[in-house]
Symmetry: C2
Subunit: 273 residues, 2 copies
């Protein structure tokens, strides 16, 4: 395991035009590589507006979908790991909210299909039903890239403590959540959830969000963020389009776990008896 890793959180404003979205994402990934980042992370639905009814028409299949081929080629050309946020993925009759992860040689090393579909009805203003058009995945995803174990969840997946715990128990050192929180849950819970998963599991936690797109039907909260295992914010964007470059000191994981040995102090026989 390396001591340090340099990552970029790409926060593009997503529009209702796939070509434009891909152009923007590619430009950000190239910029990340040029500034020496080893991993670039894109946000949830970076090629498609976050609207259930648009997911099927934007969906692509592996391996020949346009977005998927672009990410594979970019990873290889720029010699950078890409955690491909998520896109609508078509597989047979079904559409998933899927993150494709490519190694720096362009090979697919992971595919996370969102496990928890966002079906909510918040009176303050967020009503969403992903299950109208999407199917949930069935697998937990932990991959190794640049010698670091990355656990991948998508947006609403972060609300489930069991998933983060299981990824941690499988060795994940950095939990990465491509996400698209809105203007109700964003201010209320975004930072809190990132910090909570970090201190409870003593891992780094990354949230990669799209920028706010004025006029879009679903307004994203932005605020891409990285939190360390002690719950300190390493860096956080505002709501505008931006490329956030961060350096994670991975030694912090071991030092925090030595100081406060939560994971060792667990008493599993008592919780599940």
């Amino acid at each position: 395991m390396p001591d340090m890793i340099k990552m970029a959180l790409c926060q593009p404003a997503v529009v209702d035009n796939k070509a434009e979205n891909l152009h923007k994402a590619a430009e950000m990934v190239r910029r990340a590589a040029k500034s020496g980042c080893q991993i670039a992370v894109l946000p949830e639905m970076f090629n498609c507006p976050y609207q259930s009814e648009l997911f099927p028409s934007y969906a692509e299949s592996f391996p020949n979908g346009e977005t998927i081929r672009l990410l594979a080629r970019l990873a290889k050309e720029e010699n950078i790991v890409i955690v491909g946020g998520s896109i609508p993925e078509k597989d047979g009759e079904r559409v998933y909210n899927t993150s494709f992860i490519f190694a720096e040689n362009g090979e697919l090393i992971g595919r996370h299909r969102k496990l928890h579909l966002f079906d909510v009805d918040i009176k303050a203003g967020t009503v969403f039903k992903e299950s109208d058009t999407l199917t949930a995945g069935n697998d937990i995803t932990v991959v190794t890239a640049c010698g670091v174990k990355l656990g991948i969840g998508i947006c609403y997946d972060i609300r489930f403590i069991e998933l983060a715990r299981e990824m941690t128990d499988r060795g994940a050192q950095v939990l990465i959540y491509p996400a698209a929180f809105g203007l109700v849950t964003g201010p209320a819970h975004w930072e809190l959830l990132m910090k909570a998963r970090a201190i409870d599991n003593q891992v780094f936690v990354i949230g990669a969000a799209p920028a706010r797109t004025l006029g879009a039907k679903y307004q994203a909260y932005g605020h891409s963020i990285a939190v360390d295992p002690w719950g300190r914010i390493v860096a956080e964007a505002d709501e505008t389009e931006s490329l956030l470059t961060i350096v994670l000191d991975l030694k912090t994981i071991a030092s925090v776990r030595e100081e406060l040995p939560i994971l060792k102090h667990r008493r599993p026989k008592i919780y599940h008896n």
Copy 2:
């Protein structure tokens, strides 16, 4: 279940004199009852300074220990439920960090022995080893008082997501953590942990702390707090001696769970396969 419940969080400054500590606690519980509270909560080790080497000499046995008898009598006299923070409890050769809970008729309705002993070595300044003198409990504690289900954990117990989840699954609506965070973990994690347990489990969370005692070997952070199921702070004390009176609107639990059905959306077969 009632719609509303009125509680008092008692935040006394604890000194190295049991009689003084009991006098202060009793005065606060009586004041809570007079202001119409149905439940009074005391902090961790409210009758004893938070120092491992003092726990054995302050320890008492059920039912005849001085503190235990006082709490039972107070509950009955004042017609108030008492979540008796915690005290060192002697049982045979062993000493536990125990919370005794009394109904408003003075009967014992629960006894929580701290499940996770605080054995930590934080370089910024907190070194503690409860296991030098204490033994850990083996049981999860959820009791019904005033028609409300209360889950009880003690201080370091709050760091364990599995415990809060299990108490929630057993029906707890309010998680109560008598605690004594210090000046390192307090500013870093106190509020965050309370809010995290609240939004992840969609319950109310209460932290009841002692006030800071100037000159004491272990400086408590204070900041007794109540958080609602959306993660909003209902009330929070500062570090000084105080009695915090709060009203919990229990209907919030159902409304938040309806808006954002996290507990229903869990996928247990995938987490533990």
